[in-house]
């Protein structure tokens, strides 16, 4: 996982609640190997026609948003299926942070495992952000993981919460598995006792 301290980039507004993982990465791409560039599958069904040509109306196809690396969206972003492929699509396209009032629980934890920051802000702040981004397409915003702040297009700053451990892993580019493996003896002794209790 690449370390991520701060990102400043074009933000893509997705002014729609409940954007589900089936929209982010349609199920027919679940059979693709991880070595594929999943960025090509991002929002595939609304972004491309059946012949592969772009649908000009779709926001990501508009020139001012193509370089987006941050997404702002309405509530319950990433609800639905547990497919990590949805996060891979966002990641491979270049997205490193998603800002929303709430996230699907599984999607949220998948983000953290892939160096993509799920930023929860209150509904009214996200609304203001979405309005600001719609008013000035292609505007840059910043997500600073170290400082735990979002810098809006107008320069104003909003704080956000993130688990200290998840933050540590994202900022350092570490993953949890190595850490857990270092605790193997605790797992072993727990398991022995657990099995004893369940005979």
């Amino acid at each position: 996982m690449e370390p991520l301290q701060r990102i400043e980039a074009v933000a893509l507004p997705i002014a729609q609640p409940n954007c589900d993982t089936d929209q982010i990465t349609p199920a027919r791409f679940l059979q693709k190997p991880r070595s594929d560039d999943f960025g090509r599958y991002l929002f595939a069904d609304v972004r491309f026609r059946a012949d592969g040509s772009e649908i000009p109306d779709f926001i990501l196809n508009r020139p001012e948003y193509r370089a987006a690396r941050i997404i702002a969206a309405e509530r319950n972003f990433g609800c639905g299926s547990s497919r990590e492929h949805a996060v891979w699509s966002l990641h491979d396209y270049g997205i490193r942070a998603v800002i929303a009032p709430s996230f699907g629980d599984i999607f949220r934890s998948n983000c953290l495992k892939n160096g993509l920051v799920p930023v929860v802000l209150p509904e009214d702040e996200v609304k203001a952000l979405l309005d600001g981004l719609a008013a000035s397409p292609g505007a840059h915003i910043a997500v600073d993981v170290v400082e735990q702040v979002v810098v809006f297009p107008d320069g104003s700053v909003r704080g956000f919460d993130i688990d200290p451990f998840a933050k540590h892993c994202i900022v350092q580019g570490l993953d949890e598995l190595d850490y857990t493996l270092s605790q193997s003896s605790a797992i072993e002794s727990f398991e022995r006792d657990y099995d004893e209790r369940h005979r």
Binding site: D22, P26, L30, Q31, I106, R197
Partner: protein, 488 residues
């Protein structure tokens, strides 16, 4: 690691010293807690890990790091998402990528000594049907699987939740997962369900009430007399769709219905071990005075047979209703969302739901592919014919369900009426095996998601119970099943 301290938990849970009322969530959570981090995350021991034919990326991650599954005996698999439902032969899969998914499961499992009920095995089926059916999902367990509908297994009284590929890799390698304890939410349904009203209608009514984000961050405990009165099949349907309410976990406290269902299942404990297990399981239920972070109540007698009209499961109404009018929406945002959904669904506001014609019918999935579901659908179909122009399928949730249905003659009821009778798999729920609904076609479906493109690009899905789907099949439109019920 800065600012990170660990505490090892005592391994035995001492209830006697502590008279604070406890929820079932806490009881199961605490009995699986290996370590706690001071950021509030707990390392939980995983009793059961189910794998299927979309688990390849996790095994690859493991191999890339030179690791192997730690506890193969606690892991079980079956292919479901990519299996053909017209044949039991992998060679019947024309698409090489899909075939690879099934082959990868077989290879990864064999390499690690993991038991897999493969294609052609009489125990194969959708993983969430197979687990409880084989007695692999038991009360008090923590169960994980790379699939959001893992919540299904909560019906036996377990904490079961879906995880992504990286977490699958972690669970394979360590038989444990770091998790933050979710909020405690209780959804109580009291009273008596009316004729023709099933567990599917109950969960659609719950989601319509609380919304698809209604339980985000919470584990749902289902309670109340109407829930107690549900069969295990009904409870499995209910818990299955917890994720559609935003809850990663949904469960029902185990009781005599649970024990009667599990007794004698192949992997359930036997004899003296069974008696000891039941005694333990009886202690899992939440204390009567336990406190929940959120409470929602529904009156069972007010729930009617439900159908969805839009593109999220909260877009559900009683079948007696009409397609809603976006102009009557409370906010501009909702108006916009509804208009988009209705345009996709090809529906006109004000149309009575019972006048909406269907092209396809799909009875199956991990939500409603169990024997009771097929019995209920067959009860409506018997003596009737699938309406002209409708293509109706029954896809049993597992091969044991298919065998049982055939032993009861249900396959003949369906086939005589003009249904297709298929082999077990996910099939048209997700359409990844090639069983798709064509663009613009409208499908009455017993599955769990009516998302845009879920059953195929441009497919229009209406979610409902098996009896309601059967009614749609024989009338050719969305129909109130109560009109078709015996004696009605």
């Amino acid at each position: 690691m800065p600012r990170l301290r660990l505490r090892t938990k005592g391994n035995t849970v001492d209830h006697s010293a502590n008279h604070t009322p406890r929820t079932m969530l806490d009881t199961i959570w605490d009995s699986h807690r290996i370590l706690s981090r001071d950021d509030g995350q707990d390392l939980l021991f995983v009793d059961r890990h189910f794998i299927h034919d979309v688990t390849e990326p996790a095994f690859r991650m493991l191999r890339d790091r030179g690791l192997a599954p730690r506890s193969p005996g606690r892991i079980f698999g079956t292919p479901d998402h990519y299996v053909p439902t017209h044949s039991r032969k992998a060679t019947a899969i024309n698409d090489p990528e899909r075939r690879t998914m099934i082959e990868a499961l077989t290879r990864d499992a064999r390499g690690a000594d993991i038991t897999v009920f493969g294609l052609g095995d009489p125990r194969q089926g959708i993983v969430h049907v197979v687990g409880p059916e084989q007695g692999l999902s038991l009360p008090g367990m923590i169960i994980v699987c790379a699939d959001s509908h893992t919540s299904t297994h909560g019906a036996v009284g377990a904490l079961a939740f879906g995880i992504g590929a990286t977490e699958v890799g972690h669970a394979l390698a360590t038989q444990s997962l770091w998790q933050r304890r979710p909020g405690r939410m209780r959804v109580s349904v009291d009273g008596t369900l009316g004729a023709g009203v099933t567990a599917k209608d109950v969960i659609l009514a719950i989601i319509a009430k609380i919304g698809v984000a209604g339980a985000v961050g919470h584990a749902i405990e289902y309670a109340g007399s109407a829930i107690r009165g549900l069969s295990m099949e009904g409870r499995l349907t209910l818990c299955n769709m917890s994720i559609e309410a935003g809850g990663r976990v949904g469960f029902v406290a185990p009781d005599d219905t649970t024990f009667a269902y599990l007794a004698g299942r192949p992997y359930a404990p036997k004899e003296a071990a069974w008696d000891r297990a039941v005694a333990r399981w009886r202690r899992l239920a939440s204390d009567p005075d336990a406190v929940f972070d959120r409470e929602v109540t529904l009156d069972a007698s007010e729930i009617a047979p439900m159908v969805t009209w839009g593109t999220t499961p909260e877009d559900a109404l009683p079948i007696t209703g009409r397609v809603p009018d976006p102009d009557a929406a409370p906010t501009a945002e909702r108006r916009e969302t509804m208009s988009r959904a209705l345009a996709y669904m090809g529906l006109t506001p004000g149309t009575p739901l019972e006048e909406v014609p269907v092209d396809r019918v799909f009875i199956g999935s991990c939500t409603n592919g169990r024997i009771e579901d097929l019995r209920s659908a067959a009860g409506i179909v018997k003596g009737r014919k699938v309406a002209a122009g409708v293509d109706a399928w029954v896809v049993p949730g597992s091969e044991p369900v298919r065998a049982q249905a055939e032993a009861e003659g249900l396959d003949l009821v369906f086939k005589t009426a003009g249904f297709e009778w298929r082999y077990a798999g996910c099939s048209m729920c997700l359409a990844t095996n090639g069983d798709t609904v064509a663009a613009g076609q409208r499908c009455a479906s017993t599955s769990n998601r009516n998302f845009v493109g879920r059953q195929g690009v441009g497919a229009r899905t209406h979610l409902m119970s098996p009896a309601m789907a059967a009614a749609a099949a024989v009338t050719g439109r969305l129909s109130d099943v109560r009109r078709l019920m015996a004696g009605a």
